[in-house]
């Protein structure tokens, strides 16, 4: 035994004797993780979160979450002598009078933007590849919860410095709270300790931002990762990859180096961005005063869609028996987002109802092989992007000198027309790609060589595809479903069958009535037989073998 081996053995024995880590290490030290660039999206989210915790703790050492008014007297000359809250004053101090303070503040802000962005794109990856299917539905729901928390946490942090922009954001949030039927005025008065803006809200938001939400996030995130660990990662189809195995590199050493290294890469890039690109220059906005505002007020990117929804809605408000129901606020700010997130969380069960499939799926779908899901995802995405664009309607109007009214109207119309069109087109594209895959599997790939038959007929010569592409294409079988069929409407005794299950049949037909059936082994064998014949007559010229 070498010295190193002995040292490792002594350490592991010591730990094993006390907490029995030996079995766990034996199982997990060489745990296999599959490799794909898209699996790094969740990692980016995790690493941004770690960076947020570290930089956040540093910022708490200097930030003073108080709304007491003070007169500024510091390094940033343009604001000297101006009255502002201690929250804003201490943010200026960390930005101008603490060496490296601005850097840490900017890392915190850039990491927050990247955190929500990578969570969102990670979720899109999970959705479009069907990674939410059994047995991972619970982790999908946890993920939707994490994304909601991430958005809330971002907004809370953005609101703390009490600059003109964040104060305006809080004013809007308070307006939304006021619109809640029955209790709005009370909730607002309790949240703000009286009227807006009062002096209580920032200290309260502070404990929510640095303790409550991060605490819940940390717990939920841990559960999210434990489930990934326990259920093992999904993998894309390929040679040797099946629904029953996981193919990839071992945790130790390859993933330790890759994932550990990637943490440093993400942190490094965020730090470099914070060195070069100013983010949220609160000193330019000035302190919050409720009767001042700047044109072109924009929230952080992940609030843009909510702001856009609030902008694009028509001005509906009803007054019943002296009580106001502000649909123009409730719909875009509470009801529609509520429906969107609920549908998102329930999606695994909606799709399972259409497939009627109760088996486990560890092999990812190629998006084309689930045309209706991909179409629905693209549809939802187009809706999201449209209301997000609507959140910048004033910026667009100014940049292109367009009328803001026509932009708003255009988006209103597009919001109704575009998503269904996107759905239809996306599904068509998927079905087209599936047909091409089917042809490839049966006839092989096109070589570009045209052969003239003795009869005068022209044929293109096809060559067999590689084993790797075959494994990829044949995975369409795993994703393929025929629509569920309705049972007889009356049983053998002429009694009407219960309606239960009809919805599933309808849903299933919506999903799978249009489909491309993957080729059977016989079809492929026959196709290859033909292709071989074609090849035979051309091969003497030698073009195929050299042209690959």
């Amino acid at each position: 035994m070498s010295t190193t081996q002995r040292a490792v053995a002594t350490t592991t024995t010591w730990i094993d004797d006390r907490i029995g880590a030996g079995k766990w290490l034996k199982k997990n030290l060489r745990k296999v993780f599959p490799d794909h660039w898209s699996f790094m999206l969740g990692e980016i989210a995790l690493y941004s979160f770690i960076l947020l915790l570290l930089t956040g703790v540093y910022l708490t050492l200097f930030f003073n979450p108080s709304m007491k008014e003070v007169i500024y007297n510091g390094s940033y000359a343009p604001l000297n002598g101006i009255s502002m809250t201690q929250a804003y004053e201490s943010t200026l101090r960390v930005s101008f009078d603490v060496r490296g303070g601005l850097l840490v503040r900017q890392i915190h802000h850039w990491a927050a933007l990247l955190f929500v962005a990578s969570v969102s794109v990670h979720m899109l990856r999970i959705f479009f590849t069907g990674a939410f299917r059994k047995p991972r539905e619970l982790n999908w729901v946890i993920g939707v919860g994490l994304m909601t928390l991430a958005i809330l946490e971002g907004f809370a942090g953005y609101s703390l410095p009490d600059d003109l922009l964040s104060g305006t954001g809080l004013r809007i949030a308070q307006g939304i709270v006021l619109a809640i039927p029955l209790v709005g005025s009370y909730v607002s008065s309790f949240l703000f300790g009286g009227e807006f803006p009062g002096t209580d809200f920032i200290p309260r938001l502070y404990s929510i931002h640095i303790l409550l939400i991060p605490g819940i996030l940390l717990g939920t995130l841990t559960a999210h990762l434990l489930l990934v660990w326990y259920q093992k990662h999904t993998q894309f189809p390929g040679p040797g990859r099946t629904n029953k195995n996981v193919v990839g590199f071992p945790l130790f050493p390859v993933y330790t180096a890759k994932a550990g290294g990637f943490f440093f890469i993400v942190s490094g890039i965020i730090t470099l961005m914070s060195a070069m690109f100013t983010i949220n220059p609160i000193w330019l906005y000035g302190p919050y005063v409720p009767d001042q505002v700047t044109a072109g007020s924009q929230p952080d990117w992940y609030i843009g869609w909510l702001d856009g929804a609030v902008r694009v809605i028509p001005n509906w408000e009803t007054v019943i028996f002296g009580h106001n129901i502000s649909w123009n606020i409730l719909l875009p700010a509470l009801i529609i987002p509520g429906i969107m997130f609920t549908l998102l969380a329930l999606y695994p069960w909606i799709e399972a109802k259409a497939t009627g499939d109760k088996s486990e799926h560890h092999l990812l779908d190629r998006p084309r092989n689930a045309p209706t899901r991909t179409g629905l995802g693209a549809m939802g995405l187009s809706f999201y992007i449209l209301i997000w664009i609507s959140g910048g309607n004033d910026i667009i109007a100014q940049a292109f000198s367009w009328s803001i009214n026509s932009i708003t109207w255009t988006i209103r119309v597009l919001l109704i027309v575009l998503p269904p069109v996107v759905f239809i087109i996306t599904r068509r594209i998927c079905l087209g790609l599936q047909r091409r895959d089917r042809d490839k599997l049966i006839h092989g790939r096109e070589t570009g060589i045209i052969k003239r038959m003795p009869s005068g007929e022209y044929l293109e010569v096809h060559a067999p595809i590689s084993e790797a592409s075959r494994a990829k294409l044949i995975s369409a079988r795993e994703s393929h479903y025929a629509p569920l069929e309705a049972g007889p409407s009356h049983d053998e005794n002429g009694v009407k069958a219960p309606k239960k299950g009809r919805l599933g049949v309808k849903l299933s037909n919506f999903y799978f009535a249009n489909r491309v059936v993957p080729p059977t082994d016989e079809e492929i064998a026959e196709g290859q037989h033909h292709a071989a014949d074609d090849l035979e007559t051309v091969r003497p010229s030698g073009q195929i073998t050299s042209g690959h």
Partner: protein
């Protein structure tokens, strides 16, 4: 490699033959491997230099020094150097580790078999049985008195937690209906707090932010911006015949109109006035109000007109409010009516 039974091991090895593996240059050429090793070490070495550079910049560069960079503009030198040094220090460790993993660690894929998460039927049946036995032994179903009182106690238990929140703030009462404006309140400019005479506002002119004269003292006394958030107004002057309608008859003074500055949509202060059309646009969500026509909404998400403040002049010739606002200012709320 999977460490399960030998049967699974064989199966895994069987699969392994199907995995493609292409040898890297570092696998076949020892010199390429040495080169990769050097590259990794260089990255780690540069990271060390960057970390030391950070300390040098921290100590050596003034907080106020700035540097002009083409395209980006003038930026703080300290932030730039500290960020570049620590950013590179981090990035190079990551780049080195990944280069090491990709070039020098084994890149042969291995296979793990997945196991079903589900317990066998017998175990599941046992769980149900155990639970039933426990439930039986507790007598939960047999003793309704205990069950019902427990459920009722659990239902009431959260009430103290909710009641505890009561003192977060006062009841809303009618505060949102009242502003500082009273009959005779003198109108002053924001910031300078100077009273305004009609002749200070030219035809087509605008006072973008005005307040009641007593606001300053009250704000200092209360230490909050609450009254300002409700009382802020905007003054515009147009030719009297340009005024098509008003909320309050003769609410103007020689064509000078006063409106609440707080948007009736979500409470942003409205500031973008177009003199030619007499339209006022909210910068937050683009609700547009026509000040020549009773402050009515002509576009955007707001459902209600901007409340008008009737004005006149006092004995010394300064603009004053004729009376308070006749309707609540700012966003809608349930009790507004």
């Amino acid at each position: 490699m999977s460490q399960d039974t030998s049967g699974e091991l064989e199966k895994a090895q069987e699969h392994e033959h199907e995995l493609e593996h292409v040898l890297r240059r570092t696998d076949t050429n020892p010199r390429a491997a040495q080169r990769a090793e050097r590259q990794v070490a260089i990255m780690f070495g540069l990271s060390m230099l960057a970390s030391i550079g950070f300390v040098a910049a921290y100590v050596g560069i003034s907080k106020t020094a700035s540097i002009d960079i083409p395209i980006i503009g003038s930026i703080g030198l300290l932030n730039l150097t500290l960020g570049l040094a620590s950013g590179l220090g981090l990035f190079l460790i990551g780049a080195g580790a990944i280069h090491w993993a990709r070039q020098l660690m084994s890149d042969e894929e291995i296979i793990d078999e997945r196991k079903s998460f589900a317990a066998d039927d017998q175990t599941r049946a046992q769980v149900v049985e155990d639970f039933q036995q426990g439930a039986e032994e507790s007598g939960f179903m047999k003793r309704p008195l205990i069950r019902r009182t427990l459920l009722a106690a659990m239902a009431l238990m959260p009430i103290p937690a909710i009641v505890l929140l009561r003192d977060l703030g006062p009841l809303p009462e009618t505060k949102s209906r009242n502003t500082l404006w009273r009959s005779g309140s003198r109108i002053v400019q924001d910031i300078s707090y100077k009273p305004i005479r009609p002749e200070d506002i030219p035809l087509g002119g605008l006072v973008a932010s005005a307040l009641p004269a007593d606001l300053k003292a009250i704000e200092e006394e209360q230490g909050t911006l609450n009254e300002r958030a409700k009382a802020s107004i905007i003054l515009v002057r147009m030719a009297p015949d340009e005024i098509r309608s008003q909320q309050i008859q003769d609410g103007d003074y020689q064509g000078i109109l006063a409106f609440s500055k707080i948007c009736t949509h979500l409470g942003c202060p409205i500031a973008l006035y177009q003199q030619r059309t007499k339209h006022l646009l909210c910068p937050c969500h683009q609700s547009t109000f026509d000040l020549a026509d009773s402050g009515n909404v002509i576009f955007g998400p707001s459902a209600r007109r901007l409340p008008q403040l009737a004005i006149t002049v006092d004995g010394q010739g300064y603009l004053v409010a004729k009376e308070g606002f006749q309707e609540p200012v700012g966003p809608s709320f349930w009790e507004r009516g």
